[in-house]
Symmetry: C2
Subunit: 220 residues, 2 copies
């Protein structure tokens, strides 16, 4: 079967959250219809997403909340603990250390690195900031699986290179620059400014701009 799309994976993550809260509420079964409504998608979409991985439902009844949750957890790798390295002990980095949702899903930030020697040795929410040069050593020692980059734009590419050299294959990048992944390496770029830009585009577009009917857009 073909590769699973990113959109499908994102939705599975979302279904997972709904299922967890349904389970807390004591509900035993859920239909594709119910799940779909919670996420603003069609029931067919829910079923297609799940069908990429197997058959988990019972016709006439729906899906077992508990079983489906566990199944998705296994698909997404949420059934285990992942050790995460964080590079960048600035304010964003510090915020990420205490971001509850990471820990809740099994992503444990086990080491924080920085290249600023004034910071090295200090603590951030219980974790001692380590010299970035100790990265390769610590990746092995702590069995680190994933890395998060939270450094300024200009440092991001060289940090990524270091991470890859240390053997890491999966990187989540918060620096506002799109890092390109070499083959075998997966980099996900989260650019918070770009998210805002998508909103401001709509703010402009809704008011005055209509594609194809926009004289003032011609080059200056």
């Amino acid at each position: 079967m073909s590769r699973i799309s990113d959109a499908t994976i994102t939705r599975l993550s979302q279904y997972y959250r709904s299922l967890a809260s349904l389970e807390e509420g004591g509900q035993e079964m859920v239909s594709s219809m119910a799940l779909a409504r919670k996420h603003g998608v069609t029931p067919a979409q829910v079923r297609k997403d799940l069908s990429c991985f197997g058959q988990f439902g019972t016709r006439g009844l729906g899906y077992s909340v508990c079983q489906l949750k566990e199944t998705i957890a296994r698909i997404l790798g949420l059934h285990r603990i992942w050790n995460v390295a964080l590079v960048g002990a600035g304010s964003l980095g510090s915020a990420l250390i205490s971001y509850k949702e990471f820990k809740r899903q099994g992503f444990h930030i086990v080491a924080v690195f920085d290249n600023d020697l004034d910071k090295v040795g200090k603590k951030r929410r219980g974790l001692t900031i380590l010299d970035i040069r100790r990265l390769p050593q610590m990746v092995k020692k702590l069995d680190i699986n994933l890395a998060i980059i939270a450094v300024p734009k200009d440092a991001a590419q060289s940090v990524a290179d270091l991470l890859i050299k240390a053997g890491l294959k999966m990187i989540l990048n918060f620096a506002p620059i799109s890092l390109k992944a070499s083959p075998g390496i997966t980099i996900r770029n989260v650019n918070m400014a770009i998210e805002l830009e998508a909103l401001s585009y709509r703010l402009v577009a809704d008011k005055s701009f209509r594609p194809g009917n926009n004289p003032q857009l011609t080059p200056v």
Copy 2:
């Protein structure tokens, strides 16, 4: 012409960044080919993206770096200042206040709100934290255009309701819950945990899991 896709807008944001750095470097013209290579897309993609909004290039020569940059800025609404309200003065909120890229693109966080009365009145990087109940008043007074939610999961929906009631139409949500937008309201959800999950999925998938060939995935 039809609605512009989200992917196109995201790419325009990225082209914009490249153009800014090309301009700094003194380059005057750029071809779709050159721009495409910087972003790992095809030249045709670049041209299609731009052609949604008009014709900005010169055949045989390419695009004027400066003009194209200005044009994209106008499309995305980056040619002006947007006043942004931030709700949630926790660690993520504080990090966002000092996130340079926002200011650089014209997004100015002009007010910070929280419902924790212990925080209200204190300062975060120069901004006094305001009582969330003053939101409607301040939205008008400060002419706020956009809002960012950086509160815990459970508070996110009620904060969104407040923002909408105060007249805001564009919301960027960092709480790990997908807020649904009512008609006329645009909400963008940034879920950092989901980004990590997409990575852990691949970590699991690359090693052991192949869709359709995965006995241990059957429900427990």
